[in-house]
């Protein structure tokens, strides 16, 4: 069966520090991968999605970036965090016409 791992669960980082959130998927090949941000327990904002290794589509211009170095690994990064980057970050995967499956999320607080 397929599983998705996302870590860390919580993170507190100072303004201006770098960020690296990692997401890995098991049990499937060539999935579509997604990063979403959820602010204040409300709607999900699509940040990036990837249909293959090295292929990243960015939905919102900002100081975040994403990379997909391996088929089932998706990384969200920032060189310098802003206060406005605080939020709940969710990774998801999808294959074919199936629904997307979500990780448990990372609560990022920038202080």
């Amino acid at each position: 069966s397929q599983t998705i791992h996302q870590w860390p669960a919580t993170l507190v980082q100072p303004v201006g520090s770098p960020l690296s959130l990692e997401c890995t998927v098991e049990g499937t090949s060539n999935p579509n991968l997604y990063w979403y941000r959820q602010a204040a327990g409300r709607g999900l904002q699509l940040l990036f999605y990837s249909v293959g290794i090295g292929q990243i589509s960015s939905e919102v211009p900002q100081n975040l970036s994403a990379s997909r170095p391996q088929d089932r690994q998706f990384i969200l990064s920032s060189k310098k965090l802003l206060l406005s980057d605080s939020g709940f970050y969710l990774c998801a995967w999808r294959s074919g016409f199936l629904e997307a499956f979500f990780g448990q999320g990372t609560r990022l607080t920038v202080v």
Partner: protein, 113 residues
């Protein structure tokens, strides 16, 4: 580009009463439609989906949703609400020809005993 609207930020119902959480969508071509539920500080859990075929879709925990193409709606329903159904509900859409998935702003459902 596709989009989803959930017109109600909050829905309150009494336990045992039917519930409806509304969703309308905009997409070029045929849609895939989804409902998810989120409990505090957790990821989203899949409830049900519409791909094609029967407009009435049944999903987990007694939830169902009806696809209405003419009204571009996909409302979530349950005949008898439980207190444990209280959570944040998200509708999502993806076009058949697209890879990105768009979510609505979410509707907070509160079921009171």
């Amino acid at each position: 580009a596709q989009s989803v609207a959930q017109p109600e930020d909050q829905v309150n119902v009494a336990e045992g009463n039917p519930l409806t959480v509304k969703c309308t969508y905009s997409v070029s071509g045929n849609p895939y439609l989804f409902w998810y539920v989120q409990y505090p500080n957790r990821g989203l859990q899949f409830l049900l989906k519409y791909i094609t075929g029967d407009n009435l879709v049944k999903g987990s925990y007694g939830f169902e949703a009806e696809f209405n193409k003419s009204q571009t709606s996909f409302h979530l329903k349950k005949p008898s609400a439980l207190v444990s159904d209280s959570a944040l509900y998200f509708c999502a859409v993806r076009a058949h020809t697209n890879n990105d998935m768009r979510f609505g702003a979410g509707t907070r459902l509160t079921v009171k005993p």
